[in-house]
């Protein structure tokens, strides 16, 4: 198993400022009126793009899970390539902070698989579900209620899960360059072309 590769944050070849712990403090600005307005504005753009991209449609989302419609993968991979160049570019200029999500092997895998089962049953994900609701897919209402119930259920179990599953294989804010023992710039020089080739290949060999 690859887990044996040890690359803790401190021994990385290039220390990267990954942002502080993502916890709420009373003064945190994401609750300020200005940020709430910005959030809504960015949300409108996000929802608009999701709908135009077709990923608010049930059959497009199920299509990717049935390996027949790759629209979702094309949207995601393009967003990752552009966003990666953009965000690391801005970061290298000191204009933005990174927000690396923690790597917890057990929680990522178990949670990820549970999410996947839910994804197929619901047919929308949290972002595209909001978009589906906006375009008039009323079955997304049941999905929204389920999402809220599931969130609360997780909160019910959060103390126990925090002591168990979320501790198993906790590697902190581990990044792919560290994992492979590479410098960030070198990694991006490989990562971006590889994803681009994947997009081109997808485009050539898939009907949609």
């Amino acid at each position: 198993m690859v887990i044996t590769i040890q690359a803790p944050a401190e021994t990385a070849s290039l220390p990267i400022d990954k942002g502080g712990p993502e916890k709420d403090s009373p003064a945190k600005k994401e609750f300020s009126a200005k940020q709430l307005l910005l959030g809504a504005l960015f949300g409108v753009v996000f929802g608009f793009l999701l709908q135009k991209g077709g990923v608010a449609k049930y059959h497009v989302l199920l299509g990717v899970l049935l390996l027949e419609d790759f629209t979702v993968v094309k949207v995601m991979l393009t967003a990752i390539v552009v966003g990666s160049i953009g965000v690391f570019g801005l970061h290298s200029l000191g204009l933005v902070k990174l927000h690396i999500k923690p790597t917890r092997y057990a929680a990522n895998i178990i949670g990820g698989l549970l999410f996947g089962v839910g994804f197929a049953l619901l047919g929308y994900c949290p972002g595209t579900g909001a978009a589906a609701l906006g375009q008039g897919n009323w079955d997304a209402i049941a999905g929204v209620l389920g999402l809220m119930a599931g969130s609360y259920l997780f909160a019910e179990c959060s103390a126990w899960l925090g002591k168990t599953v979320m501790k198993w294989g906790d590697r902190g804010k581990l990044m792919l360059p560290e994992f492979f023992g590479m410098r960030l710039s070198m990694f991006l020089l490989i990562f971006v072309p590889v994803l681009t080739i994947a997009i081109v290949a997808l485009d050539r060999f898939t009907a949609r």
């Binding site: 709908q51 690391f88 698989l113 839910g118 906006g134 599931g150 969130s151």
Partner: protein, 212 residues
């Protein structure tokens, strides 16, 4: 010491029950669905209005904007958690305050919840502009597979699916936006593992539902 052990055991019970229920449900539900009639092909229905590369590229640019102006990556699932917490505060305020998750993530209207509400609005505008407003309860592809009168089954699946999805997202630490786009673009190992597992779980379940 003993009282602490006792408390631990008590708090484990609902988790164990939930895990058992979820495992058995996930094993059984696709089989139940698949008993019903013929398959249905996603390409029989209309595709996206805009090129997926244009949309993906613009979502990448949007990410740069959210990082710069809001110091936040795009993510949707915690918006639902905050909403649930706010509802919980109304129904059972003391209990909600006692939960670890809501002590660390206060149940209030935040940036991400506004993002979700905005996305509903934005998708409405896009569908309205592009003449794609659906106003339907049953997706056509679902109806082709499970029948025109399968609305209760559809709503049940959507509800249960939502529960699984949100629980999984909170455990994994994000959803298709937070992990799948924002986390992967920042090269987080956990995000790449999570998104792969999203698709593994999703593909297996979808194939059981539609191709068995």
């Amino acid at each position: 010491m003993q009282s602490i052990r006792l408390r631990n055991n008590e708090s484990e019970e609902p988790v164990k029950t939930f895990l058992l229920m979820s495992i058995s449900l996930s094993a059984v539900s696709p089989l139940v669905f698949s008993v019903v009639a013929p398959g249905s092909h996603p390409l029989d229905y209309s595709g996206p209005a805009w090129s997926p590369y244009l949309v993906g590229g613009l979502i990448g640019v949007l990410s740069m904007f959210t990082f710069y102006f809001s110091d936040k990556p795009l993510g949707a699932s915690t918006g639902y958690a905050r909403m649930a917490g706010m509802l919980g505060k109304v129904v059972a305020p003391k209990h909600t305050d006692s939960l670890k998750y809501y002590q660390e993530n206060k149940p209030a209207v935040d940036w991400e919840l506004m993002l979700v509400l905005g996305a509903v609005m934005g998708a409405f505008l896009a569908a309205w502009q592009g003449n794609e407003l659906t106003g339907e309860w049953l997706p056509a592809m679902w109806a082709a597979r499970f029948g025109e009168s399968s609305l209760p089954l559809r709503l049940g699946a959507a509800l249960v699916g939502g529960v699984f999805m949100a629980f999984g997202a909170r455990l994994a630490g994000g959803c298709t936006s937070g992990h799948g786009i924002s986390g992967t673009m920042q090269l987080s190992v956990g995000s790449w593992i999570s998104v792969i597992c999203f698709f593994v779980g999703g593909i297996a379940t979808a194939l059981l539902m539609f191709r068995l």
